[in-house]
């Protein structure tokens, strides 16, 4: 279990239970009294404008930031985390193979993971610093699922990724979700992703604006409250 989080048993089907989560950093309240739950197999997208506390929320759930309130993870789950960026990783000579080795899994496990996600083997010998943002994102996703997690926390999957790369990342996420039955927590400012992936959506702007299935809770009113002004959004339906 992660440091700083409370281990508990929020019920068989519940993966995560958050109650009254408040995060104060440098005397500023970043997240105010947030409560929600995530069920097994669910795909929750956290949306909100820049500075709404989305990344801070993910880091608090992982126990990486000090907080009050409770964050209770189901005892039987294993969490994988895909951060938004790793600013220092391009500073030293490191191949993709080296980066995987840092996780300490066997080459067989690694090969199985990269084989399952259409990952060109030749990329193992590329320098991490020479990868495109899309390729690097793919490496990070592979890295995170190496330990066979059942929950994946994903921070802004497509930051700095071009449109073709975005599509690859989204397709990969859908594939992972389908094949591995992962519970996903996704943070994004990209509303279009919500209808594509999410079984539920959490609108965050320091406090909870709305929470529930996207079709029910994403109304023009809640979006206006979330983004503070009239915004354009489109709704993508599958029927």
């Amino acid at each position: 279990m992660q440091p700083g989080t409370k281990e508990a048993q929020p019920g068989q089907n519940c993966v995560l239970k958050v109650q009254n989560l408040t995060v104060v950093l440098a005397n500023r309240t970043i997240i105010d009294n947030l409560s929600f739950t995530v069920a097994k197999g669910e795909s929750l997208t956290v949306v909100g404008p820049n500075g709404a506390g989305k990344t801070v929320l993910l880091k608090s759930l992982l126990g990486l930031l000090p907080h009050t309130g409770t964050v209770e993870w189901n005892r039987h789950i294993k969490v994988g985390y895909v951060p938004q960026r790793l600013p220092f990783i391009r500073e030293i000579p490191m191949t993709v193979r080296d980066f995987f080795n840092l996780k300490g899994h066997s080459a067989d496990t690694r090969d199985e993971v990269i084989g399952s996600m259409d990952f060109p083997r030749a990329m193992l010998d590329s320098q991490v610093g020479a990868l495109s943002s899309g390729q690097f994102q793919k490496v990070l996703i592979a890295w995170s699922i190496l330990g066979k997690p059942n929950v994946l926390l994903f921070d802004e999957p497509t930051t700095g990724v071009d449109i073709a790369g975005e599509e690859t990342v989204y397709a990969l996420l859908e594939k992972l979700q389908r094949e591995r039955g992962l519970t996903m927590l996704l943070v994004t400012h990209d509303l279009s992703i919500v209808y594509r992936f999410s079984t539920s959506v959490l609108c965050l702007n320091r406090h909870l604006v709305c929470f529930g299935p996207p079709n029910e809770v994403l109304t023009p009113e809640s979006l206006r409250e979330l983004y503070g002004a009239e915004i354009k959004y489109y709704r993508h339906t599958h029927d």
């Binding site: 992660q2 440091p3 880091k59 992982l62 126990g63 990486l64 969490v79 985390y81 951060p83 790793l86 220092f88 990783i89 500073e91 030293i92 000579p93 490191m94 191949t95 193979r97 080296d98 080795n101 840092l102 996780k103 300490g104 320098q127 890295w143 330990g147």
Partner: protein, 261 residues
């Protein structure tokens, strides 16, 4: 007399190679933290200890060690409390080291403190330096994987359950040992270079992590050997020569990289 000189040269070379390799290997990890210069201020912080060693006639590295440890404990504690970048804290701590030194060390005796002296090492000092350097190399090798992960991706490391604070402390203690050893060889002013330059040169010349660490280690050892040998031929002190040799290697790798880009 010649025999004695030969033995002396052998001791110097042995001490130089082991300290050169160990500091370069540690430097390979430090460079990733943008922290190579931490060794600089810590080097300066050894100066009061070195001064006491010179004035009262005991081993310079031994005298320097408690001062570096004190500095590191203060920096580590401040980092945990204030969350200021370690570089900034180190800079705050180090100036006091230099100031304190010149309160009581006569300037004419300062040369050894400032640029070191590896031309007169005893058998006992050689054995101690080699043993400590080998221990250091083994420890760094053992914790290399979590250390690099905590360095390049602290959040990922913590999610993996790596105790980053523990590794920070181990890492700082290793720096303290290397700085105390290095001060004997190149003096308080140049220890940072002993750590930083081989790693910087290796970075220019390497593709992967293993090659990078190995090249750094090789450059560290080779610079020491060449520096000490040149000092036997020309009338220059070994410490600055060791640093200049590694600087030349760094420049060569820089041009090599530009050439191959």
């Amino acid at each position: 007399m010649t025999d004695l000189m030969n033995w002396q040269l052998f001791f110097s070379l042995l001490t130089g190679i082991s300290i050169g390799c160990a500091s370069a290997y540690l430097g390979a990890v430090m460079l990733t933290r943008r922290m190579a210069l931490v060794a600089g201020p810590l080097g300066h912080l050894t100066l009061p200890g070195v001064a006491l060693g010179i004035l009262y006639g005991f081993n310079v590295s031994l005298a320097a060690f408690p001062f570096v440890i004190l500095g590191i404990v203060v920096i580590w504690w401040l980092e945990a409390k204030s969350r200021l970048p370690m570089e900034a804290l180190t800079a705050i701590v180090f100036a006091s080291g230099v100031a304190m030194t010149f309160m009581f060390l006569p300037v004419q005796q300062a040369e050894v403190a400032l640029i070191g002296d590896i031309s007169h090492v005893s058998l006992r000092e050689t054995i101690a330096s080699v043993a400590l350097s080998v221990a250091l190399l083994l420890i760094i090798r053992h914790i290399f994987r979590p250390l690099v992960l905590a360095t390049v991706a602290e959040d990922l490391a913590r999610v993996e359950g790596i105790n980053v604070r523990k590794y920070n402390l181990i890492y700082l203690v290793l720096i303290a040992v290397i700085v105390a050893l290095g001060v004997k060889m190149v003096g308080g002013l140049l220890t940072a270079a002993l750590v930083a330059i081989p790693a910087a040169a290796a970075r220019n010349a390497s593709h992967g992590l293993g090659q990078y660490a190995g090249t750094a280690l090789g450059i560290g050892g080779a610079s020491s050997v060449l520096g000490i040998i040149i000092s036997k031929v020309f009338p220059f002190p070994a410490g600055p020569l060791i640093i200049l040799v590694s600087t030349i290697i760094f420049l060569v790798t820089l041009f090599w990289r530009k050439w191959n880009a």
